[in-house]
Structures are given as structure tokens and as C-alpha cells.
């Protein structure tokens, strides 16, 4: 019977751990049964649900936005960090680090309303392509993970994204590409200012950071947005470790999963040295913390969606 589910996952310990866990929490009367309301599953996005190489999709989006802004202000082309973005100088971008890069990206939309931003994002996702994978960014998602999200929801899990990526950029596509509605997406955010414009209430994105949703902030934002401890969490970097441990150390059945990008042929192979989102501590301590490692190379039959 389990041959029908998760068809893009190879038989092996990772797939078995998922199937076993879902069977246990959904078996009524069983020792590990969890009512549907408690079946909260949280997923990182960059590197967990879609590709984050050579830089996060957020960064490509910021590059496109900066290119537009630079048409009005050509001097930007000579100023850092804009210069690095505009020249796709990934080395310099990596050196800046994830929070600095993302904050810069968020700042390019200060003064824009959430609805204007949604139009900008929709337009960009409609045509922008990943430079190395030669596919739309919205199609840089992992097929095995789409199947896992569907499988969990079929078993009455509620699936959430908890990502360092900008909350509004993700929300523009998550329902379409993952089946996850905007209200189940948690991410980094800037402050929003309520304003009446020509008799119409709008929310304006400010330049001030509200939350950088990474590391210890992830479980804190789960507390704020969800208010329940997840029973399953899935990540791929040290930025997810606090969330994985928050899920794993709750009472009752728990499953924490970590993708290891070890597949240079079909995707990318990286861990400790990826400065925008390193995987080191979580990899070294996975056993000790009870985290199930997923090897992209070994555990996934296919990588990207068709």
C-alpha cells in the first residue's frame, strides 16, 4: 500500500521514518495517536522546498528590483552592496551573509504597499528563470517535498512554511506551488504601516525590519503565529536547528528531518562552506539530537518538479 505514496522517495531509512511516523500519529487508539489539530508540520523553504543555490531566490528577486531602481539612479551601479547584486557577484554577496543580504533586499521595497508588492512579485515570477537550472524560479521546487506536503495533508496535517525568506515574496506563490495558503507562511518581514490613501486603507512596507526569521527566531515566530509546538519539522541548515529541536523535544511522537545537499549531479553539493546558510552543527549533531538525515542523492528518486 505504501508503494503509492511518496513515489519520488527511494526506499530507505528516511522514507521509512516518515511513513512510520505518519502511521503512528494517525492510528486511532494507538499509543502515539495525535488528534488532527495537533498535527502541525513546519518546513523551511530555501534549500528545503526549493533550490537556494547559488543564492536564494529572494536575492535574484532583489537583483531584478535593483536593476529597475538603477535605471533611475545609475550611481547605484558603483556603490556596494548594490554593485555586487547588479553584477551578480555571488562571492561578495556570500561574504555579506544572509541577514545583511536579505535586509538589503527588503529595503528595496520601502514605501510600496503590500498590494503593489504583490503585483511586482507576480510579474517577476511569471517570467524570471533560474540562470543555472534553466527553469522558472517558481519551478525550482523539489518533487519529493511536494509529494510529502500532499501526503501529510492527506493525513490531516496542517503544513506551514517557516523560512528566513521574505514573507510577502513567498506568499505570492506558496498556494500555487505548495498548496500552502498565505496565512500558513511565516517568514522574515519588515514593519507595515497602516495608511489611508485616497479614501482607501493600505499597508505600506517600511524600511525597518520587523523580524529576521532565522535560527532561534524560528521557534519564537512559531509561538507567535501558530501557538502550538510542531510535531514534524523539516529543514536543511543550521538556521533550522532551533526549529528542529523545538519540534523534536516536545512530548509524544516527533519527527525532525534535515536535507543534506549532497547531489552535485542533479542539484548542488554543499554544506559547511555555504556562507549564506551553512550546515555544520546540525549535521554533526543530527544523531545526538535525533534528527533524521535525508540524503538528496540517496533518498530522492527525482529532484525537481516536472
Amino acid at each position: 500500500m505504501t508503494g503509492d505514496v511518496l513515489p519520488s522517495w527511494n526506499d530507505g531509512p528516511a522514507r521509512a521514518a516518515i511513513l512510520d511516523f505518519v502511521a503512528r500519529v494517525t492510528t486511532e487508539g494507538g499509543a502515539d495517536f495525535m488528534p488532527p489539530a495537533e498535527r502541525i508540520a513546519t518546513f523551511d523553504n530555501d534549500g528545503t522546498l526549493w533550490c537556494e543555490q547559488p543564492v536564494q531566490i529572494q536575492v535574484f528577486f532583489a537583483q531584478a528590483r535593483l536593476a529597475e531602481l538603477a535605471e533611475k539612479d545609475p550611481g547605484m551601479r558603483e556603490r556596494q552592496p548594490f554593485k555586487a547584486f547588479l553584477e551578480h557577484d555571488f562571492k561578495t554577496i556570500h561574504d555579506l551573509g544572509k541577514q545583511a543580504v536579505f535586509e538589503m533586499a527588503f529595503a528595496t521595497h520601502a514605501g510600496v504597499t503590500t498590494e503593489e508588492f504583490a503585483r511586482i512579485a507576480t510579474d517577476w515570477f511569471a517570467t524570471a528563470r533560474h540562470p543555472r537550472l534553466d527553469r522558472l524560479f517558481a519551478h525550482c521546487t523539489y518533487q519529493p517535498q511536494i509529494e510529502l506536503l500532499d501526503y501529510l495533508r492527506a493525513n490531516r496535517f496542517k503544513t506551514f512554511i517557516v523560512s528566513g525568506g521574505g514573507i510577502d515574496l513567498m506568499r505570492n506563490v506558496t498556494e500555487r506551488i505548495y498548496g500552502i495558503p498565505p496565512e500558513q507562511v511565516i517568514g522574515s518581514s519588515v514593519k507595515l504601516r497602516f495608511e489611508m490613501r485616497d479614501g482607501r486603507a493600505v499597508l505600506v512596507k517600511e524600511s525597518e525590519l520587523n523580524s529576521f526569521d532565522d535560527r532561534e527566531v524560528k521557534p519564537a515566530n512559531i509561538g507567535l503565529h501558530i501557538g502550538r509546538r510542531p510535531i514534524l519539522a523539516f529543514g536543511n541548515s543550521d538556521g533550522d536547528l532551533a526549529m528542529l529541536r523545538y519540534a523534536k523535544t516536545g512530548e509524544g511522537p516527533r519527527l525532525a528531518l534535515l536535507i543534506h545537499h549532497d547531489d552535485a549531479e542533479r542539484e548542488f553539493a554543499y554544506d559547511r562552506d555555504f556562507r549564506l546558510s551553512p550546515l555544520a552543527e546540525a549535521l554533526d549533531k543530527a544523531d545526538e539530537y535525533g534528527i533524521t538525515l535525508v540524503s538528496m542523492k540517496r533518498d530522492w528518486k527525482t529532484v525537481f518538479v516536472n
Copy 2:
């Protein structure tokens, strides 16, 4: 057919406006049809879903907590604002204003984990009774609103709470009393700190305010938590006006509703002079802003749940 729904609502303009709105947005092929994903409805809590007199239920909870703390530190009984709380001196509490009172209430749980807090709240709700209504606080909810929430969900609306009340206190009961799960509750909050305690990850409530979810902050928090503009919003005070206008001024069909507490006999009669949550501007401008007034006296057949 419509006689079956909203049985605790009297026939009249408010009930008719609700039925008409729901019929329009759910009629496939109609000009005002909205897909289920867009059917977001946001409700204030204090004074909209449950009673907020003579003070918000949050304040009674804080009183109980302070009484416990005062057993260890009797000097608190002589210090303001604790003295006013411990003596149930509502006049002084009203003079402090809602934000000051709520912040004080939140501060009584600094250092407590979210799970410890949940146990404290569960214990309190199990036995604490409203002093004037002589019923459990968890039963101080309005029957017509419970019916409205059910009716909206039956029509594939997703119902949210957006309240100035403390997010964790509400989440302790909202699923049980309103059918609204924790992840659909937005409220005031303190910052949460991730911590490992004896190998177990916990979230600790800090004394620092994260968000006081009132007035212009309500739509901003809707932007953060939901990421979609509600098509229906329901409130009862000036603290809800920004949310009502945010819902009402979106494109397409919209419904904004405002309860007027004008029923001294069955509940309480108050508006402009209730300093903890006045209703003045929203009442004066309801017509201009297209907000539908609900008179508790005229529109509700019954007030409280059985």
C-alpha cells in the same frame, strides 16, 4: 430557508446584510463571487465575541495572577497599579487605559514558558466566574456570534480573531468556545525567547511587549499573520476602526460590522465613556464609512450562550 440560520439574530437590517453578503460572495458565476481562499473574516474578541465589562476578561485573569504573586510579596498590595487590581478598583483601572493595563497583565508572566502559561490559563478558565454575570468566563460568549462564526465557516469562510487581548490567553480557549484554532488567533503579545532547559526546547515569555494589537496595529498584524485583506470584519470599538476600514475599502464585495452595546438589561450599555475601549468615532462615522451597525438590543434575540 434562511430561517434556519442565525436563529439568535432578529430579522432586521443587520441580519439581512449578513445573509445578503454571504449569498453574494458564495454564488458561483455571480458578479460578487469570491473563491473560498479569499473568504477571510476577522473578528475582534473583547466586546465582540465575549463580554468586556466591567473590565476585559484579561484583567480578571491578571487579578488572579497578581493575587498569587502578592502572597509571596505582600508589599504589592500597597503599590499601584497592583493595588487597584487586587482591590478590583475598576475606576483606577479604567483611568490607566487599555494598553497600560494589558501591558501590566502581560508582565505578570515574564519568565514563564508558553507551556507553563497554558497550564495556568487552563486552570483559571476551569473555575473562574464572571462576578456580575455569574457564569464561567469561558461562557461569557455571545450566542449570536457563535452562530455567525459557524455560518461563515459552513460557507467556507476562514474565521480569525484579531484582538487587543493577550494572544496566549485567548488561544487557551478559542478552539473550544469559538471553533477557532490557535493559529487563527492574532492578539497582543510579548516577545518570546527560545531556550534549552534540561535538554528540552522551550519558549519563555519576556517582559518586553512585542505588539499591542489595537487600532492601526490590527490591520498591520493582519498583514503579518494572514497576508490577505479580509472581506468581512466585525468589531465593537474605535480600536477596531482601522481593521473595519481595511476590510471595507478593499476591491469587490465587503462587509464591516460594528456591535453597539445598547442593552443594559441583558448585558451592558456603554460606548463613548468606556475608557478601556471607547466607541465614538466609529459610531459617528459608521454611515460615512459604510459600516453596518448591530444593535445588541434590537438585533439579538438572545445574548449569551446557554
